[in-house]
Symmetry: C2
Subunit: 212 residues, 2 copies
Amino acid sequence: MAGKVFFSVTMSLDGFIAPEERKDDPDAQQRWMAQWTELQQWAFPQRFFRENLKLGEGGEEGRDNDIARETFERTGASVMGKRMFDLGEQAWPEEAPFHTPVFVVTHEKRDPWERPGGTTFHFVNDGIEPALDRAREAAGDRDVRIAGGGATILEYVNAGLVDEFTITLSPVLMGSGIRLFEGVDADRVALEQVRADRTQRVTHLTCTVHER
Amino acid sequence: MAGKVFFSVTMSLDGFIAPEERKDDPDAQQRWMAQWTELQQWAFPQRFFRENLKLGEGGEEGRDNDIARETFERTGASVMGKRMFDLGEQAWPEEAPFHTPVFVVTHEKRDPWERPGGTTFHFVNDGIEPALDRAREAAGDRDVRIAGGGATILEYVNAGLVDEFTITLSPVLMGSGIRLFEGVDADRVALEQVRADRTQRVTHLTCTVHER
């Protein structure tokens, strides 16, 4: 049986999944990091998160941790956009945190980039559908995660290629940043709410995606 | 003991609390109504909603209905902006659905407007704080609801005058419309999640508001 195609992101209550990038201004970078840290504050203390990024022993083991681990374990392959890859290439530890094949949608021609720990980045030059096809094949009966960023997720949503998603709603107002659903094809995309897990810090909301 | 100041709105998953207004185009009006109906689809079948707007007997009686009724019952007075009042003046039935004093923030000078069923609209010309003071006094130990619209709610939030809110997250993507938190003073406003009630149709998310 083929797996599902899903995404899973943390979103502020005003709809942002990341602060705005301002590369030229060092103050803005500090602000970026402060906002990012606040948005993601639920994730950092989790045992799974700490393990997977090799930040050390210990950590919380509750529903948030279970959800983070389940999201990882269901994922047989990921797809990401070039922007997310470029940011991650700077930020991930040498053992990139995917531990599966990752298909990067890009115009750049580049040989597969194998990292210790099982992550291999493949660079796909012919668009979002071929990248997804290759990810499905690599994932086998596990699911394919559209890892990000926002623009790439939205392309897949608007193309009708996403089966479901989980939004971790963080009780934060950011005021500005990158909106998850900016430009969504609202005439085409219908949702059905299937789950909401409220934890101490956040609410994980799961919807399936349907064509109207 | 003085009551709390709160708001309670239905929001799409992409952050809109109403469709965009386009008064000049009849097609756009139909679209407005279709989007509004979809956003609010959880409310219409509820017994309390039908009772309160005199739409007839019957209706659902589950958690959604309890929440709608509790929101009504806790409210000793409401505050609203002039835009919401102008829209409502056309749309509410003769027995306006508040059944309490309502303070309208407006430049218009006008005598109190008493409706059958206990709703009296008072027109307050000296800004949001005096309107809230009068509403608090009228509400006694019940709560004051900032009824809307979005811009008025945001003024109260940014002024640090809101204690808590409930957002009913409707699993809908609207793509455009009036955003609840557009222009929020994110450097000033911090939230704490206190409750999430997932029902069959929506998730009711309650946060308290704090100053950073």
